[in-house]
């Protein structure tokens, strides 16, 4: 173990014909992404506090949380429409409230005042304590949402520009199309798992995008190298060769990132495990899309152009 490697992902000289399955890969991806888009519109993402506004108070009660008593305590403070939910341990409870409607007077001030009312209500329960209390006003949540989307959009554009600058446009376009497909699937995953979509999730998605791009760049880098090396090889064959040559690395890196994120999903606590599960999903999607989506797209876009030399007789 300290000298020679004990394990190995793919035997030397592996040649899997990935390009033969390209239409199957693209079709599967398209179906999954369309399904995710449908999920996005109905039932839609569960927006977190950052983007929805309102308040969330996390409290720990003595013994298992008794919702009826908590509701009664809240009622004495004239707090209504409170959503109660158990959270993590049985003695933890999550109290949520929405921001007052858009036309309500003193909307911002009332949002902030609700937290104090909930605190006072919790204080009347013996042995109960507030672990966390957040209130986000409607104007702030709208702004956070806009900034989050802006960060996503600009990142995609910058990745496009960078790959365009370093490679040819076919590479950049197929990378960004693949990233958008990855992104839609991640959103579908978020809808299905009911993880809350908030700023931390935007961070997770951006990390996935960064990771997935990284993965594509490595494959593309090899494609570019082989384009120079094998001037007459048909593009499909050349892409297959490049994927196979980098396969061991692709699997190796995705494994280490996966292993690094796994403990976070298992032990990271309620606030980070959602983030980590989305990361894990993104790693699997990003890795497979490098092989099954990004390369076939490159074949579709670049069959004519990238292999101009092949049609000409070799000099």
């Amino acid at each position: 173990m300290f000298e020679r490697p004990l394990l190995r992902f793919v035997p030397r000289g592996t040649r899997i014909n990935f390009m033969r399955g390209r239409f199957l890969g693209l079709a599967t991806s398209a179906v999954l992404s369309i399904a995710s888009l449908i999920l996005f519109f109905h039932p839609g993402l569960t927006l977190g506090l950052d983007f929805r506004g309102g308040i969330v108070v996390e409290a720990r009660t003595q013994g298992p949380a008794d919702f009826a008593r908590i509701r009664a305590a809240l009622a004495t403070q004239h707090v209504e429409a409170a959503g109660l939910q158990s959270f993590g341990a049985p003695d933890d409870v999550l109290i949520r409230m929405d921001t007052p409607p858009a036309n309500a007077p003193d909307r911002e001030a009332r949002t902030q005042a609700m937290v104090d009312s909930v605190r006072h209500a919790i204080a009347t329960l013996p042995g109960a304590q507030v672990l966390r209390a957040d209130a986000v006003g409607a104007s702030v949540s709208a702004e956070l949402f806009r900034n989050g989307m802006l960060a996503l959009g600009i990142s995609l554009l910058m990745i496009l520009a960078y790959i365009w600058f370093r490679f040819e446009w076919e590479f950049a376009v197929s990378a960004v199309i693949t990233l958008v497909l990855d992104l839609t699937k991640t959103i579908g995953f978020l809808v299905l798992t009911h993880f809350e979509f908030d700023l931390v999730m935007v961070a997770a998605i951006l990390t996935i995008l960064g990771y997935s791009t990284n993965d594509k760049v490595v494959v593309y880098d090899r494609v570019r190298e082989n384009l120079r090396k094998y001037r007459t090889m048909p593009l499909a064959e050349l892409l297959d060769l490049s994927i196979n040559e980098t396969l061991s690395r692709t699997l190796g890196t995705s494994s280490t990132v996966f292993l690094a994120a796994l403990p976070l999903a298992l032990f990271g606590g309620a606030s980070l495990s959602g983030f980590a599960w989305v990361m894990l999903f993104g790693i699997v999607v990003g890795t497979s899309s490098s092989i099954f989506i990004a390369a076939p797209l490159l074949l579709l876009l670049g069959e004519r152009r990238l292999r101009r030399d092949a049609q000409r007789p070799a000099r």
Binding site: M1, F2, E3, R4, P5, L7, F9, R12, G13, E108, A109, Q112, D116, Q129, L131, R132, D134, A135, V140, L144, N147, G148, A151, I154, S155, M158, I163, R166, L199, V200, A203, L206, T207, Y211, T213, N214, D215, V218, E245, T246, S248, R249, G252, T253, T256, V257, L259, A260, A261, L262, P263, L264, L266, F267, G269, S271, L272, F275, A276, M279
Partner: protein
């Protein structure tokens, strides 16, 4: 690619050792205040505390200025013996308008108004309008400057108020044009602070309009409610006799005669003189102490008050009297502040998060190290040495920047660990391939380093782009995440391109193997 000069090796080792030294302050206590001691700060989500985002009420700055401008206009016109009617302010247009008593007085009006004192040169312009009225218009640049100053001043006053509460290590920063962020470590219930910051504490002294004229609002007179009886309203003259900013001190005390809580205050020389003059001239009339547009009390002046001291009684208890004294000492906010976002975390949750983060970080580190050892043998262990150095250097840079470590930041470190070995995997796989093509050990290593380097730079550059974006557009904990990943990418480039390669090259130079352990 296969040669490291002594100097280069020494530098790489020196950087790693420097990293260890920079990390030390996090584990030790500062032995003396003279030593530069830079530590990683724990974010509010890890140590517990409150975050408040406050909005400065910008429109009120304009309307306040218009109010004083209208007051000044009245004084200027009366002083010059000119008449006016229909004086009005418009916050939207930033104007004070009135109609001259007689069109023939227009020129004299203009002259008197243009001589009014301004806060800054060119603050307003005085013009005659086609319908015969006169408009005093505030210049937008002067108003912008005033607003900017108001935010700076608000930050100062917020700081004074918070310092007075005895909070430890508060952070008060400006965000954007009109917002203030207040971070209070260790304070997990910010209700009291919110109440203190939510009070403007603008105290002014006015005369009450004499009852003969009836209790109606008119030009220059506003009906203001009493603090203790909001239904009861008093007609208060807009003109400010004495301003609360002329106070030098204020303190809460129990009134000797009534046994009630009261706030005692003393004026500076300007305030004392104005107070004496006002009370002298108005014996037998009522004057009002107005706090944030509410009348605290409105006693009848029995004699001139020349000592420069005063007392406010208004049904206080110990807490509210102490708070008011604190607010008066710290000064009034130039504009009302309102909380628009608050997040507070109790200490127990923070401790839970640190435990969960440290456990995940440890477990992730072990898994990645075991993986690299199993799959890449000797070169994998070199990568693991580099990984450890990477962790140390990340902590060192975070300490050097005195960065704030948040829970998402810990997640960022973990992911960096996973991504960091990518460069080593790229190099190792490449060397494997070259060996497979029948190259010699030396040629294979050389080719591996060369070919992998451009790939490593490319892939890290794209990741860097995504996280710089996140840093620019993110807020709070998310920024911490972006920062740790950005730092992680930089340290990864160093440890993989220089350190682990150096270990491999040294090993080759020492043993001159004919077969590589790949």
């Amino acid at each position: 690619m296969m040669y490291y000069s002594r100097l280069k090796m020494a530098s790489v080792v020196a950087v790693c050792l420097l990293g260890v030294v920079l990390c030390l302050p996090n584990a030790l206590r500062q032995p003396s205040a003279a030593l530069p001691w830079r530590q990683i700060h724990l974010g509010l989500d890890l140590r517990g505390g409150s975050y408040l985002l406050m909005q400065v009420d910008m429109p009120s700055i304009t309307s306040d200025r218009l109010q004083t401008l209208a007051d000044g206009t009245r004084q200027a016109l009366l002083g010059a013996g000119l008449g006016y009617r229909d004086i009005a302010t418009s916050a939207q247009a930033g104007t004070v308008t009135f109609t001259p008593r007689d069109p023939s007085e227009t020129e004299a009006d203009l002259k008197a108004l243009r001589a009014m004192p301004t806060a800054v040169p060119g603050e307003f312009s005085v013009d005659r309008r086609p319908d015969g009225s006169i408009a005093i218009t505030l210049s937008p640049t002067a108003m912008h400057e005033r607003a900017r100053e108001a935010v700076t001043q608000s930050i100062e006053i917020v700081r004074r108020r918070i310092d007075a509460t005895g909070a430890v290590d508060p952070e008060i920063t400006r965000q954007g044009d009109d917002r203030i962020v207040v971070e209070l470590p260790g304070i997990s219930d910010p209700e009291h602070v919110k109440r203190l910051l939510g009070t403007t504490a603008k105290m002014t002294f006015h005369m009450v309009q004499d009852n003969a004229l009836g209790t109606v609002a008119g030009p220059g007179v506003t009906l203001l409610p009493m603090v203790n009886a909001p239904d009861q309203k008093l007609p208060i003259l807009d003109h400010v006799e004495v301003d609360g900013s002329d106070l030098t001190n204020a303190g809460a005390a129990i009134d000797q005669q009534t046994g009630e809580w009261a706030v005692n205050f003393s004026f500076d020389s300007v305030g004392a003189r104005a107070f004496a003059a006002t009370t002298q001239a108005n014996i037998g009339h009522r004057f009002a102490i107005v706090l944030d547009n509410k009348v605290v009390q409105a006693p009848v002046i029995r004699s001139a008050i020349t000592g420069g001291n005063g007392q406010i009684v208004g049904g206080f208890d110990a807490q509210s009297a102490t708070d008011l004294a604190l607010l008066l000492r710290a000064g009034a906010l130039p504009a009302p502040l309102s909380v628009i976002e608050q997040r507070s975390i109790g200490p127990s949750l923070g401790a839970d998060s640190i435990r969960a983060g440290a456990l995940s970080l440890g477990a992730g580190f072990v898994l990645v190290i075991a993986f690299m050892g199993l799959f890449y043998g000797r070169f994998g262990w070199y990568a693991n040495v580099a990984l450890l150095a990477n962790l140390v250097l990340m902590a060192a840079l975070l300490s050097l920047f005195q960065a704030t470590l948040t829970l998402p930041g810990m997640a960022g470190m973990l992911l960096t660990l996973g991504m960091a070995v990518d460069a080593n995997i790229l190099i190792n796989e490449r060397i494997r391939e070259e060996v497979g093509r029948g190259r010699t050990a030396l040629a294979a290593m050389q080719a591996g380093f060369e070919r992998a380097t451009s790939t490593i730079v490319d892939s890290n550059a794209t990741a860097l782009l995504a996280h710089v974006m996140l840093f620019v557009f993110g807020t709070g904990p998310v920024r911490g995440f972006a920062l740790t990943i950005t730092i992680g990418i930089v340290t990864t480039l160093f440890t993989t391109l220089l350190l682990s390669r150096m270990l491999m090259v040294r090993w080759y130079a020492r043993t001159r193997p004919t077969v590589l352990p790949v």
